[in-house]
């Protein structure tokens, strides 16, 4: 009953009209930030930290405001994924795969409602899990060494085949390009710059945000210009928001599975929301009876990654609060906020500053309920923001892409790089090469390589070290299964030799 009395204390701190108002404002602003391509949760929270201080907010109020923005951005990311085929933030990449086809087929409102509810389920359950399990889960973090992390990433890439395209070879090539791009910059193990050509801007590698905004938003703009707006992602119209209860109910187990996978991925530092939504999607596809319908507008393909990435956002708070290890970019920003408030996360935070922890947890629960209300019945408000006439939206997307990237990195070099990625995205689209695997390669490649290199340093170059712990063996078995099972199942299911293509594959 400790937990209940603690939670009651948390609510007594967090549940006042003033903080509720802050939660509403934060959730609203966060949703918009998440929905705008290029402005992800981490920039959103970072931008609002100075504002919250200039408003003179106390620690709990500031936490309520900023965690509402954080969770709001996780909700908002799906809106532009579904309506524009442009992920609003990096974890929303997977939502484009089925969300946008659904919107094209006229089910935009279903996609938005299902993903909204999935976000709520994922985030809400993750917050409860955070509350119940944080002190236990911290032990899990200690169990993961470099070899285990490497196996985890290997699992992610092994299950990747055929994502976003009907051609596995093209997916593999796209991953290779992504992984290659990730190699640019300082090598952590030797401290030497690689593939930088002496250009200091490349020392830190290529930011995946630059790649995402280029490959999705800028490429979309090029495509729009070429096609004069016909058949383009920009400007999918949305009718009345109705709730298809049967469809929603049919995704209930998907949401729960996505939540579990996402939360587990979120707890591991360095994995975070992107791999959470990715593994949730892949897991769902792997166990589905109709895997070929994924990528063509399957509602479960929307529910799984959204539950996954929101659960991961909650999971990422576990190592942040208990160890001071931020599991993602956004939790790094929240960590900065706590430090500024003179709260040092670490093993003793739960016992030393219970009012902060429980106030934060109460704030998260409040933010989630506010967001569910805001994102399901009121989603039209946000859709209106995105469904302005293309004469305004097109320059708007372009401007937001440039402003977003510039405000993030402060470097004109990155803007040029973003245009380069835009051209690449446009060409890839002509060649029917999926761009999602490129992003995943850039996003996960460095962490994967770093862990491999660390494992090799620790073992003096002995490869068997990679298979030396029970966790890594389990992950390798899952990876092998994920790689082989689709080939085997394909024979069993006797798919037609020429896969059917849908209209969205050709545009």
């Amino acid at each position: 009953m400790d937990i209940l009395s603690n939670l009651a204390m948390g609510f007594s701190i967090a549940l006042t009209p003033w903080t509720l108002m802050l939660a509403v404002i934060g959730a609203f602003v966060g949703t918009i930030i998440g929905a705008l391509p290029g402005l992800g949760p981490s920039n959103g929270v970072a931008l609002l930290i100075p504002i919250s201080f200039s408003m003179g907010l106390d620690a709990i109020s500031a936490l309520v405001l900023l965690t509402s923005v954080y969770y709001g951005a996780m909700y908002g990311g799906r809106i532009s994924s579904i309506l524009l085929n442009i992920p609003g933030d990096e974890p929303a990449v997977m939502t484009t795969l089925d969300g946008y086809p659904m919107a094209k087929q006229g089910f935009a409102s279903d996609a938005l409602v299902i993903s909204g509810v999935a976000s709520f389920v994922g985030a809400f359950l993750a917050t409860i899990a955070l509350m119940l399990l944080a002190p236990l889960l911290v032990q899990v973090v200690y169990k993961f060494g470099p070899a285990d992390y490497f196996a985890l990433y290997a699992l992610a890439f092994c299950t990747l085949g055929g994502i976003g395209s009907n051609n596995q070879a093209k997916s593999a090539m796209a991953v290779a390009i992504g992984l290659g791009t990730a190699m640019i910059g300082y090598d952590k193990t030797t401290g030497m710059p690689r593939f930088t050509f002496g250009n200091m801007h490349l020392n830190d590698g290529i930011s995946f945000l630059v790649a995402i905004v280029g490959l999705f938003a800028v490429a979309e703009v090029f495509h729009f210009i070429e096609s004069h707006g016909r058949d383009s992602a920009i400007g999918v119209k949305l009718g009345k928001i109705t709730v298809d209860w049967a469809k929603l109910w049919s995704t209930r187990w998907t949401m729960l599975r996505g939540t579990v996978i996402g939360f587990a991925a979120g707890v591991l530092p360095g994995a975070g929301a992107s791999i959470g939504s990715f593994l949730a999607y892949m897991g769902e596809k792997a166990i589905a009876r109709d895997p070929e319908s994924f990528g063509k507008g399957n509602p479960r393909g929307v529910a799984a990654p959204e539950a996954g990435n929101n659960a991961a956002a909650g999971g990422a708070l576990v190592p942040m609060l208990t160890l001071g290890v931020p599991g993602s970019g956004t939790t790094a920003v929240l960590l900065a906020l706590l430090l500024t408030l003179n709260i040092t996360p670490g093993p003793l935070l739960f016992t030393d500053r219970p009012e902060v922890v429980w106030g934060l947890i109460a704030a998260l629960l409040i933010a989630n309920i506010v967001l569910l209300v805001m994102n399901v019945p009121m989603v039209k408000i946000f859709v209106h923001i995105l469904s302005v006439p293309s004469a305004i939206l097109l320059p708007g997307v372009t401007m937001i892409a440039f402003v977003g990237i510039y405000s993030l990195t402060g470097s004109s070099f990155d803007m040029l790089m973003m245009i380069g990625f835009g051209v690449m995205g446009y060409v890839f689209r002509k060649l029917d090469i999926p761009t999602v695997p490129v992003i995943l390669g850039i996003l996960l490649g460095n962490a994967m390589e770093d862990n491999l290199r660390r494992a090799m340093v620790l073992s003096d170059g002995d490869w068997t070290y990679l298979f030396s712990s029970p966790i890594s063996v389990g992950l390798w078995l899952a990876a092998a299964l994920g790689f082989v099972a689709p080939m085997f199942l394909r024979g069993v299911l006797k798919r037609p030799p020429v896969p059917a293509t849908d209209s969205y594959d050709r545009d």
Partner: protein, 321 residues
């Protein structure tokens, strides 16, 4: 241009753009939020306002990239005469300058205001480790370098790595290349690897390990400061165990080169005031920082010597030619 873009971004994002006026003092943290530079900017910025040195909130800009190199060259190239600009720096800044990691930039292209705290280096081991003193650990490395691996929060050649090498060097072990070191994303991450038993020891800053020391997950073998640190009085220094090494990760500021001597003196004065404030003392206590105030001309001399020392070590271990 930058302020315009910022304002645009903010108003595009939020209806209420209440960011500071254009003339407000700006502190550049040359890294993403959450790290030491960000901490320096936010704490010094807050105290500057609280003690009335700056009328408004100091605006913190995170300019990540190239381990501080992007901010460094931006200050040198674009903001050389901006008297309202301060930039967070630490021993990582001088380490990278010494290792020529800022694309040819040198330390004399900015003015060094001062350091107002030091985060003493520390070597920790898991609670069940067989090593009881720093000498146990050093002897183990001497016996078999492959049997002892270190985790740290900086890349190879970074300050955490250099601490281990300098320590071993002073203890008479010179085969620096055989020392096993893995770089992780920050000290807390390095500790989890040590607690998990994947590495035998961890090297970092005292502020990074405080919570883990109190919770009993790790034990500190030595703190690399001149004297024992208040609040951590039971940790012996390396010096008293016979290895003469002081490695402080100082926290301080630099300003653009092109500002007037008066403006420079104004910042030195402001920083001295922060150092003397009660608020700063509290910040230091809460974060495991030791007092370490070197400002003005003394600090410029210190930076010069520090860079020369690191250049030598880095050449010894082959990180630079």
């Amino acid at each position: 241009m930058k302020t315009t873009f910022k304002a645009l971004a903010l108003s595009a994002v939020a209806a209420f753009s209440a960011a500071g006026a254009a003339s407000a003092t700006e502190c550049i943290a040359p890294a993403n939020p959450g790290g030491g530079w960000d901490f320096t900017c936010r704490q010094i910025g807050r105290i500057l306002q609280e003690i009335g040195v700056t009328p408004n909130l100091v605006q913190v800009t995170n300019m990540a990239g190239a381990g501080g190199g992007v901010a460094y060259s931006a200050v040198v190239a674009d903001r050389n005469e901006d008297a309202d600009l301060i930039v967070a720096a630490s021993s990582a800044t001088t380490t990278r300058l010494a290792q020529n990691a800022f694309a040819g930039a040198t330390a004399d292209q900015v003015r060094w205001v001062g350091a107002i705290a030091g985060d003493p280096g520390v070597i920790v081991v898991g609670k069940d480790s067989p090593y009881q003193s720093i000498n146990d650990l050093i002897e183990a490395v001497k016996a078999d370098p492959a049997a002892v691996s270190f985790a740290g929060g900086s890349a190879v050649g970074g300050f955490d790595h250099l601490k281990v090498l300098m320590l071993l060097n002073r203890a008479g072990f010179t085969d620096a290349k055989s020392v096993k070191y893995i770089g992780l994303d920050g000290g807390a991450d390095a500790i989890t690897q040590t607690v998990g038993g994947f590495t035998q020891a961890m090297t970092g800053d005292l502020s990074e390990v405080g919570g883990f020391l109190k919770s009993g997950d790790v034990r500190a073998l030595a703190v690399l400061s001149d004297a024992r640190v208040t609040g951590f009085d039971d940790i012996p220094t390396a010096k008293e165990q016979g290895v003469d090494l002081v490695a402080m990760n100082w926290r301080g500021l630099y300003v653009p080169k092109g500002i007037s001597d008066d403006d420079y003196a104004k910042w030195v004065d402001a920083l001295n005031k922060v150092a003397a404030s009660d608020q700063w003392k509290q910040v230091m206590t809460e974060n495991g920082l030791a007092p370490y105030t070197v400002t003005g001309a003394d600090f410029e001399t210190f930076v010069g010597e520090n860079i020369a020392e690191i250049t030598n070590i880095s050449k010894e271990i082959g990180i630079i030619q």
